[in-house]
Symmetry: C2
Subunit: 174 residues, 2 copies
DNA sequence: GTCTATATGATGATAGAC
DNA sequence: GTCTATCATCATATAGAC
């Protein structure tokens, strides 16, 4: 069907589809191999374990997030909100998957890491040691934008982004 | 240990704990019975199936939500935001559990229902047929508040509520 | 690289004794 | 109401042929 060396990528594509559709825990290797028209053990030629397959699919989001909170500097808040929205929008399907399954994926330490990303993002927006009230305002802004990237996932980016960023900025008092 | 007729309630309490901790799909009947110090089949005297146990735990939230969106009328927006916050705060642990596991709990139609609740809430806030932009603003407001009820779940209600409602109101342009 | 066949273990659920 | 014993089913994973 496809070039042999593409099989690994095809496995990831199908797994990603099924994980997003039905959840990670709820998807078996059998379902993946069936949809690809190969057998279960064939998967083990390309991935050492189920976990390794899961990790390989989440990795791009993790890398993007880490890079984002590591490289940005405090500055124009609205610009930061917009860039952040672009990123969560790109990864919106995997984000939903992770949030939905945080406990199951707890072994990957993802719940803690996402919490940490958000904390650092708030520091970028508000500086260190914001008051609890301003921290909560920022959570409404950022959490609300995340919800938009999920709830309007099927709409064109520009339609959603400007309104979502406006609302987030207002929540922040900008 | 406890009065015999309390066993059903004790099962629900322990199941609820484990579901919130680890997720529904990820919790086995064996774990529940172990923590209670009884055996697996004993559970089946009190609940016809695993599903029935799960449903019995989610039911209070479903009833409260349905009642809320059914009985409120359009009116003062800030008051509505406050009452809504009180409710999601009360059910915050189960809400997390559901959102995290929407696909797994798809058979209960919960994903669709939660989406519907939010849609009706937005109608209450904005009236019928809001512009897409205002709809998105409302999603930031409501989604952002939900995030607060999760992220600050350990703080006292009043500290969180006033700041969260303020931010939501600002996102809505109030 | 992919197959058949199989090992091993957990799960939800039932039958029937006490 | 709770137990012991057991079933069918499904999962991840491995061994070894082609």
């Amino acid at each position: 069907m496809a070039r042999p060396s593409d099989t690994k990528a095809r496995i990831q594509a199908v797994a990603r589809e099924l994980f997003v559709e039905q959840g990670v825990q709820n998807t078996s290797l059998r379902q993946i191999s069936d949809r690809l028209g190969i057998t279960k053990p064939a998967l083990y030629y390309h991935f050492a374990s189920r976990d390794e397959l899961v990790r390989s699919i989440i990795q791009p989001l993790v890398e993007d997030m880490e890079r984002f909170v590591a490289t940005r500097e405090s500055g124009e808040a609205r610009e930061l909100l917009e860039e952040y929205f672009d990123m969560i929008w790109r990864h919106r399907d995997i984000t939903v998957m992770i949030v939905r399954e945080m406990s199951t994926l707890g072994y990957l330490d993802l719940g803690q890491r996402m919490f940490d990303w958000r904390r650092r993002l708030i520091t970028l927006l508000l500086g260190p040691d914001p008051t609890p009230a301003r921290h909560i305002h920022a959570t409404v802004a950022i959490g609300g934008m995340s919800d938009c990237s999920v709830e309007y996932a099927h709409l064109p980016l520009d339609e959603v982004k400007s309104a979502a960023v406006d609302a987030a900025a207002a929540a922040l008092g900008l």
